[in-house]
Amino acid sequence: MSISPFPRLLVLCGLLAGCGPADVPFELRFAAASGNAPVDCAGRLADLRFYVTDLAVLRPDGGRARVDLAANGRWQGQGIGLIDLEDGTGSCANGTPDGNDRLVGRVPPGDVAGLSFVIGVPFASNHADPLAAAAPLDDMSMHWHWRSGYKFLRAAATDGKRRVSVHLGSAGCRGAVTAIEGCNFPNRVAVTLPDWRPGKSVTVDLGQLLEAVPVGAEPVTHCESGPADPACAGLMPVFGFDVASGAQVMPQRVFRTGP
């Protein structure tokens, strides 16, 4: 394979913020719902915060164009974005007043045939010292000290009949803190939305999680990504995971293209 200087320069530009003068602004909004009905802290929502990484638009030819998420000191940095759709009021009792419903960045121009991203924090950053981390990984509410990594997603909601609470993050990790060697259950959720187009939002459908919980089972079904936790058995498949192996074997059902 021959590599001319010109394409190499393009590749380099793709990795650097604001270096492609032709890049166009990109904005992606997220909204919480249960089925088709919006949910908020006035009753149905209790918590919804998650990390997005590896954000890219899909091209008609099957290629991907990485979205460059500019660091802003709070919600975006290191190619990772933090979405926070709760405001600490009402039913979101243990939340935080500030929030962030969108990711902003730049992307190379071109036809768009979908969107893809990962819910999670890349491995190298996931197991570093959270007290020394830069935004958006400096949010202690998102760190999971006993599992030695971040909560990629924390979601809690009710539909009046049942309550569900999920903390998703890597489990079954090996090694020791500051030197984690790997995790048997990485639990990063790959999301692909072929019907997404510029201007569309992403709906986070917590109804999918609620429907996976039997009515009247217990006051709250709380899953902490425990690979052997019965509370997680019905919930992990909603993210596409095979419970036994931890592999994502089917499409997730929580994130879908919104209005």
């Binding site: 243990n94 939340g95 935080t96 959270p130 007290l131 020394a132 830069a134 202690m140 509410s141 760190h143 000290h145 006993w146 599992r147 030695s148 903390h167 489990a171 079954g172 990790c173 090996r174 090694g175 020791a176 803190v177 500051t178 984690i180 048997n184 259950f185 709380h222 902490e224 425990g226 690979p227 052997a228 936790d229 019965p230 931890g246």
Partner: protein
């Protein structure tokens, strides 16, 4: 990034100051232990100093490090109880019961892994984040309140001065990181090798009664098997020290439960399997240090054995049969049970001798020493 530059700057300053430091002859941290005993390991990025330990002592006892000002680290780690709390399970600031009992902090500096069942946690700096910030259950309840911790350091006149003295290299030393580093240094400083047993090892043959000496022989015998999990200088197989060349880590199922006949432990307290997801780790917990064990009742990860007599009965039976109730099951037949929990016959005299030995592991000094007492 700024942190990296700060470290670089600190390194430059430090290398310029090496000669000056050498000239000052700054003493190494004094652990206050017999020179023949190895020091505990200390993370390179959180060196010990007397000033840091003093700062950490104050923070350890400070109730302002909880959501409602009701709870300090010391609430569940009471010095006179060898830094346990005397409860079967601990209660958090908001009243939630933890599924597990508070562990002793004496010699926790030598623990190769921390908490009851975690194969990842090896530094007190990391462990300390759990009680401060955990949500399930809430312990001190500071989740989402990092700013309040930094503000406490910045605004309390005493902390404001001491934190700047202890962390002079930091541009802004008023951080959760420094609070945690100081608390960890204080906890690491709680080392004890002054029990009657230690005096006996140093050559004072009168330090142990004849009964305790007989109990010691039983404790270290293949018949009773105690030492396999509770062996070594700290009476736990999950021990390390500054000169250790291999890392010892152990987790054991001791047959307390067997809910379903297939080895299940109560769902809120399954042990190492919670971390690893591997079936073989069901009911596996760390063997705690037995130092000061006479003052750390009740026993086991969930405080389900009230007295040392109950503990001896448990191991004599090779596990626990719970005939009825929601936790009923024959723990003696737990398929994941340690091979060392086989049961034994024990005469009344042997029981008394073993108890006498276990009581000889209490270091009265560590329970009262002012260095680790409440400064408020």
């Amino acid at each position: 990034m700024w942190r990296a530059w700060g470290l670089l700057a600190a390194a430059v300053v430090a290398s310029a100051g090496v000669l000056w430091w050498a000239g000052k002859g700054e003493p190494a941290y004094d652990w206050g232990i017999d020179a023949r005993i190895p020091a505990p390991p200390v993370p390179a990025d959180n060196p010990m100093s007397a000033a840091k330990v003093a700062l950490g002592r104050r923070l350890f006892y400070d109730r302002r490090l909880s959501i409602n000002g009701t709870m300090a680290c010391a609430t569940c780690h009471i010095q006179t109880l060898a830094f346990t709390d005397g409860r079967p399970v601990s209660i958090g600031a908001t009243g939630e019961a933890h599924p597990r009992a508070a562990m002793s902090l004496v010699n926790v500096a030598y623990a190769s892994r921390l908490t009851w069942a975690n194969n990842l946690l090896s530094r007190i700096e990391d462990q300390a984040l759990i009680p401060l910030f955990s949500e399930h259950p809430v312990e001190m309840g500071m989740n989402g309140r990092d700013d309040a911790i930094a503000a406490l350091l910045r605004e309390d006149p005493l902390y404001r001065e001491r934190v700047a003295e202890v962390f002079p290299q930091d541009e802004d030393p008023y951080s959760v990181l420094n609070a945690v580093n100081a608390i960890a240094a204080f906890v690491r400083s709680i080392v004890s090798f002054d029990s009657p047993y230690d005096a006996f090892l140093r050559g004072d043959t009168d330090a142990l009664s004849p009964a305790a000496q007989r109990g010691m022989a039983l404790f270290f015998s293949e018949r009773f098997e105690c030492f396999h999990c509770h062996g070594g200088f700290n009476f736990t197989d999950s021990s390390t020290h500054a000169n250790a060349t291999i890392e010892s880590v152990g987790f054991h199922n001791n047959g307390l439960y067997n809910l379903d006949g297939d080895g299940a432990y109560p769902p809120d307290n399954t042990g190492l399997i919670d971390l690893t997801g591997q079936r073989r780790d069901m009911g596996r917990f760390k063997a705690p240090s037995l130092r000061n064990v006479a003052v750390t009742a009740p026993y086991m990860h969930d405080g389900s054995l009230a007295t040392l007599d109950d503990v001896l009965d448990h191991y004599a039976a090779g596990g626990r049969l719970l005939a009825d109730g929601p936790l009923a099951g024959d723990g003696r037949r737990n398929p994941f049970k340690s091979e060392f929990v086989r049961g034994f016959e024990m005469t009344a005299v042997e029981r008394a001798d073993l108890l006498a030995f276990l009581r000889s592991l209490t270091d009265e000094r560590v329970l009262t020493d002012e260095r680790w007492s409440d400064p408020f």
